[in-house]
């Protein structure tokens, strides 16, 4: 009875199609380890993308997450090697939320466009990361910690498990809580929200706070996978996250988006870059491929908008006639 609207889940179709093709075409792709490593890779950009999904649904961006990851990594590693594992994890989450809060407050309460605010913090956070440990890399050798990045539960890599858990939580927040409802409403029409008595400023601020938290979690994974924290990590992280979100069919104009699709998109993105490696595609071409993928992703958005408007008009017409 209840039929799925594939228009909402294009990315799923593409992923399945892509995997089918790769299964047929490449013996290395089929390998369990390879699939596992795809999922592992999907988690790093994916988790940040979860937070970014909220932000983009509100119609904003966060360019600072890469720098955030660098800063948080240094803080976490520092605390870990001096105080201990558990405290460091707590500290990094708090620090992440503080970073997010900084962005959120400036954007929501001082009415500074998100793009520029996060541009400013993009500089500052990374600079602080450099200064804190004056540009040195910090090793993280705590075996339990490294598990976060490299361990498995059964056959599933832990990072992907974290991605799923966090994804489910955020999906609940987005679809089943008043707050999530307000986030989406805000993306639809800020004026309408004001009139309906929603505290738009707080909603905005909290979204960036969540973004900070997600950045903190992906920091853990990135750092664990590399067994070290360095201030020059994750230079293009914000682009990756945004690409994933857009691949997931979330409209840049805001108002609509799905956490589930973001997760799928993260896997798709990881699969593609994995295949580029499997075929040893020259780095020069890899750049261009990524560009094209992004272009395609953005045109999804465009095409869907086009189709939707056409469809709406026809619908309106029919309704009026009735």
């Amino acid at each position: 009875m209840k039929k799925i609207n594939w228009g909402k889940h294009v990315v799923v179709v593409i992923l399945v199609g892509f995997w089918l093709v790769m299964f047929v075409m490449n013996k290395n792709f089929r390998l369990g380890d390879n699939l596992a490593s795809i999922l592992r890779e999907a988690a790093t950009a994916g988790i940040a993308a979860l937070g970014m999904t909220l932000i983009i649904i509100m119609g904003d961006f966060d360019l600072s997450i890469g720098s955030m990851v660098a800063l948080l990594g240094i803080i976490m590693a520092g605390v870990m090697n001096t105080v201990g594992l558990i405290p460091s994890l707590i500290v990094v989450c708090v620090a992440g939320m503080v970073c997010g809060l900084v962005n959120g407050v400036i954007i929501a309460y001082f009415k500074v466009p998100a793009f520029i605010t996060t541009l400013g913090t993009y500089y500052s956070f990374r600079a602080i990361a450099y200064i804190l440990n004056n540009a040195n890399t910090i090793m993280c050798t705590n075996p339990t910690f490294l598990k976060i990045g490299n361990g498995n539960i059964g056959v599933i890599p832990i990072p992907f498990v974290i991605l799923l858990v966090l994804g489910i939580v955020l999906a609940m927040v987005l679809n089943r809580t008043v707050y999530g409802r307000n986030v989406r409403a805000l993306g639809n029409s800020e004026k309408a929200c004001r009139i309906s008595g929603i505290n738009t400023k707080r909603v905005k601020m909290l979204a960036f706070l969540l973004m900070g938290f997600c950045a903190a979690v992906s920091t853990m994974i990135i750092t664990a996978r590399q067994a070290c924290a360095s201030p020059d990590v994750a230079i293009n992280f914000h682009f990756e996250a945004i690409t994933v979100v857009v691949l997931g069919g979330t409209k840049l104009i805001g108002g609509e988006g799905s956490i589930f699709n973001t997760i799928i998109a993260a896997v798709l993105y990881a699969s593609v870059s994995n295949c580029l490696n499997l075929y040893h595609v020259d780095a020069k071409w890899q750049r261009i491929c990524m560009g094209l993928i992004l272009l395609v992703a953005f045109s999804f958005d465009f095409i869907q908008r086009l189709v939707v408007t056409v469809r709406e008009n026809s619908q309106k017409k029919t309704v009026q006639k009735v």
Partner: protein
């Protein structure tokens, strides 16, 4: 006089900051004050200032361009490759043609596909960088044979380095274009209120495309200076260029929502940033502090702006 101060308060305050910084640095490192260094600073200014002029036009039209960093790289590679074989002017022509093409593509993606400037120029940014790397193919392309090109970066006319002259020329041209031509006026009106402009019979899409083209072309000039300085083409230069330039423009007090550019502010802001970098360098301070300070200044400037806008808000509401 008072009117003047009020009118230019933003620019003046920026200027004040520069002077204070300059004095401060000079106390720490006397060589800051030398004519030689001031010349250096101005040359360093020219690199961002020229592209920033173009970016100011983009912001005025209500868009911005993230791809200029990649244009920088592509142009430096192309010029290096072509200049040695076909001569400088062919190379220059090629560079300009590329820039115009990129600008038009950006403009078309934004106006025709209706994708925001951020997304559109993000794509072109990645693609153009990719092309540059492809052409360079992992090598630095030397230009030693072309001593003539050196003139662009270090040649002097009447003792004034050419980059500075070029900057001045670019800004004179920009001022004329922005304040005295029909084009400039239409650009402002499009950025300020696209619909009203349409009703007044202005071709808005064309203006946006033109803005992108201007930005790209100015980026070419910056690229030429950089290339001439180091005398070889490299596909990796200019990774942060776009963000630096946008920071400069925003610091300069150009309205991010479009409609109102501030060329003077842009120029002053690029001087400010150059002074900070130079001052810290000659005091042998690590480069990370540069980023931090620039970031903080940017945010601070924005918060001040934010408070201003909040004050205006009621006014705006009353007008309905």
């Amino acid at each position: 006089m008072k009117k003047f101060i009020l009118k230019h308060s933003d620019n003046l305050s920026l200027g004040a900051v520069i002077i204070m910084l300059f004095i401060g640095f000079s106390i720490m490192q006397p060589n800051m004050m030398t004519a030689f260094n001031i010349k250096n600073i101005l040359v360093q200014v020219s690199l961002t200032a020229i592209a920033a002029a173009g970016m100011t036009f983009a912001y005025t039209a209500g868009v911005f361009d993230m791809s200029i960093g990649s244009i920088l790289a592509l142009v430096s590679v192309v010029v290096a490759k072509t200049a040695t074989t076909y001569g400088f002017f062919i190379a220059l022509a090629a560079a300009v043609v590329i820039a115009v093409m990129v600008g038009v593509v950006n403009g078309l993606i934004v106006t025709k596909l209706g994708i925001q400037a951020f997304a559109a120029t993000l794509v072109t940014m990645i693609l153009i960088r990719g092309i540059a790397v492809l052409i360079a193919n992992g090598a630095d392309i030397p230009l030693y044979s072309m001593e003539g090109i050196k003139f662009i970066s270090s040649g002097t006319i009447a003792g004034i380095p050419f980059p500075i002259i070029l900057t001045v020329l670019v800004y004179i041209f920009s001022y004329i274009l922005y304040y005295t031509t029909v084009f400039g006026m239409k650009l402002r009106s499009v950025g300020s209120n696209a619909d009203a402009s349409k009703i007044s019979g202005i071709k808005t899409n064309r203006m946006v495309i033109a803005a992108f083209v201007l930005t790209a072309v100015t980026a070419v000039l910056s690229s030429l200076i950089k290339t001439a300085q180091v005398m070889f083409g490299k596909s990796t230069i200019g990774e942060d260029f776009a963000l630096d330039v946008m920071t400069t423009v925003i610091l300069g007090g150009t309205l991010v929502t479009g409609g109102k550019g501030n060329l003077t502010g842009t120029l002053i802001a690029s001087i400010l940033i150059a002074v900070i970098k130079n001052g810290l360098n000659i005091n042998n301070v690590n480069s990370y502090y540069q980023q931090l300070i620039i970031g903080i200044i940017l945010i601070f400037a924005l918060i001040v702006n934010g408070i201003k806008t909040m004050k205006n808000e009621r006014q705006i509401r009353r007008e309905g």
